[in-house]
């Protein structure tokens, strides 16, 4: 990865406690290049208007930019624009999926299958949906190595399983789940497959058709884009069956006081004024990532992960969660120092300007599975350098000395 990339990210010039910022929390949210920041700002400065319905030229220009962003995102994931729904983020996208599938595909006594490694965003909406529909929620186990227990998953997959929802990449273990194979199995059982791609789309080439899933969710803010925007991709025929989660303006055809008819996807799922500037910013983020090339993004992430894993596994007081092979992982590593609370590690590193995350990373059941209340996580993106990883490892040694 070209070191000059760092110049594109203004925040990387920041200092923390007098030390240059080393930002290792990209799995929580990524930093933004100037191209993204300026795309949004320029839209407000030059072409801003509400989209769709406007008869005047400015509204048409704004609509072109908005729909252009949709087309960019679509082509980025190998999809058609009419299959790309703009949401606030992965969370809204998964809620939309759970709501819609619940209303149309799940009856009392049916089952919904998730895994023990899900982020709360891919667990709670299914809990709620199962409760509403009188269905049962089941969870496939995770092995001690941090992989999906494929046998357990197979055991729990049955003709009663109407939906399988799983992460493409775990935000704690880093595990890359073999979605292609699992989706095929689930389809054979007759289940709809929903993939939480919040940690994969930002970091590796993802083609939704090759993935074989039916619905795929991800967030703009983790892929160098703005906050307030996310995506639900869905096969158009499936989207066409789903009712909207949010109703209001711009998602309807005919409205009477007592009834209304929905518009087609994707408009049906974008009730109200959408996050227009954020969609345009996300379009710029996609352009930026494509200019680097997602293969290169992935290569870089793997290299940094290998470096971090190597360093962490070489220290006997460090426990690493998840697979040991960087090729089987996303660009993040979760770990703990023996007898030291993760929050203490994060605070000590913060004093050196190094930002890592400590906590349950919105995956309480997974942490409970491993018998820990929390873990530390270092995560990377295109602007992260090998030097930063080395710096992090050295600081970790000082934290260990200070607290052990």
């Amino acid at each position: 990865m070209d070191e000059r990339i760092r110049d594109d990210f203004p925040i990387l010039r920041r200092h923390e406690h007098g030390k240059p910022l080393v930002y290792l929390d990209s799995a929580a949210t990524s930093m933004k290049p100037s191209a993204v920041i300026e795309a949004e700002a320029d839209f407000y400065r030059e072409s801003y208007a509400n989209v769709r319905r406007g008869v005047y030229e400015l509204a048409a220009a704004a609509t072109d930019l908005y729909e252009g962003a949709r087309a960019k995102v679509a082509s980025f994931i190998g999809a058609r624009p009419d299959e790309v729904v703009f949401t606030r983020g992965t969370t809204e996208a998964l809620n939309l999926a759970a709501w819609g599938l619940g209303e149309t595909h799940v009856d009392p006594g049916d089952e919904v299958l998730v895994t023990e490694m899900e982020h709360h965003a891919n667990l709670l909406p299914w809990q709620e949906m199962a409760r509403r529909q009188g269905a049962h929620l089941r969870a496939a186990a995770v092995t001690q190595d941090g992989e999906l227990d494929r046998d357990d998953l197979r055991r729990k997959l049955s003709p009663r399983t109407k939906v399988l929802a799983l992460a493409h990449v775990s935000n704690v273990l880093g595990t890359v789940n073999p979605v292609v194979e699992i989706a095929a199995e689930a389809h054979r059982a007759g289940a709809v497959v929903v993939v939480d791609a919040a940690q994969s789309v930002p970091h590796m080439p993802v083609d939704v058709r090759e993935l074989g899933a039916d619905l795929v969710a991800f967030s703009g803010h983790k892929m160098l884009g703005p906050t307030g925007i996310g995506i639900l991709w869905g096969r158009n025929d499936l989207l066409s069956e789903l009712p909207p989660l949010l109703t209001g303006g711009e998602m309807v055809r005919e409205v009477w006081l007592n009834w209304a008819t929905w518009d087609d996807p994707p408009a049906r799922f974008e009730g109200g004024t959408p996050p227009i500037a954020q969609a345009i910013g996300l379009g710029a983020a996609v352009d930026y990532l494509r200019a680097i090339g997602m293969d290169e993004v992935r290569r870089h992430g793997e290299k940094l992960t290998a470096l971090a894993l190597d360093g962490l596994l070489g220290r006997p007081h460090v426990t690493v969660y998840g697979p040991r092979d960087p090729k089987a992982r996303g660009a993040l590593v979760s770990f703990a120092l023996a007898g030291i609370h993760p929050h203490d590690v994060a605070t000590l590193l913060d004093q050196e300007g190094i930002a890592i995350r400590a906590g349950h990373h919105c995956a309480q059941p997974l942490h409970r599975r491993f018998g820990i209340p929390a873990s530390c996580r270092a995560s990377f993106h295109v602007y992260t350098t090998p030097d930063e990883v080395e710096h992090f490892l050295a600081a970790l040694d000082r934290a260990w000395e200070a607290l052990r």
Binding site: H341, D344, T347, Q351, G359, A374, A402, L403
Partner: protein, 129 residues
């Protein structure tokens, strides 16, 4: 590398009054489900004075050190005085705590306040409860 002042490290490495009280007059548990910190604080009040105190639980260095320091600060003190203790008093006794960790540092104090309140409500000897 500092960030954890000497007093925190000292109490973390050598906790004072750690354990259980056999005969507390007041006791309370406070927990932060988000990071897993749990602190139990037990006090024995005799004649309006905190005759003894113990803490137990688990969690980060800051919450554990704060609990340890807190017991040291209060044992032998009149309850009336301890009840007036402010958040800032504990924080400055700890030598300062980074703002992202204030809730860890103050967890034991929240437990203490509850323990004293629970003790105050107790009218019969503890053994009979």
């Amino acid at each position: 590398m500092t960030g954890y002042e000497e007093v925190i490290l000292d109490h973390w490495r050598h906790p004072r009054h750690k354990g259980r009280l056999p005969d507390p007059t007041g006791s309370a548990i406070e927990a932060n489900p988000l990071c897993g910190d749990v602190v139990r604080l037990e006090v024995r009040v005799e004649g309006g004075t905190i005759a003894d105190a113990r803490f137990s639980g688990e969690g980060c260095a800051i919450s554990q050190a704060a609990a340890s320091l807190l017991t040291e600060l209060i044992v032998g003190k009149p309850v009336a005085e301890v009840e007036k203790m402010k958040d800032e008093d504990l924080l400055s006794a700890l030598g300062g705590v980074v703002r992202t960790r204030l809730s860890c540092a103050l967890l034991p104090l929240r437990a203490l306040r509850k323990a004293l309140a629970s003790g105050a409500q107790r009218t019969s000897p503890p053994g009979e409860v």
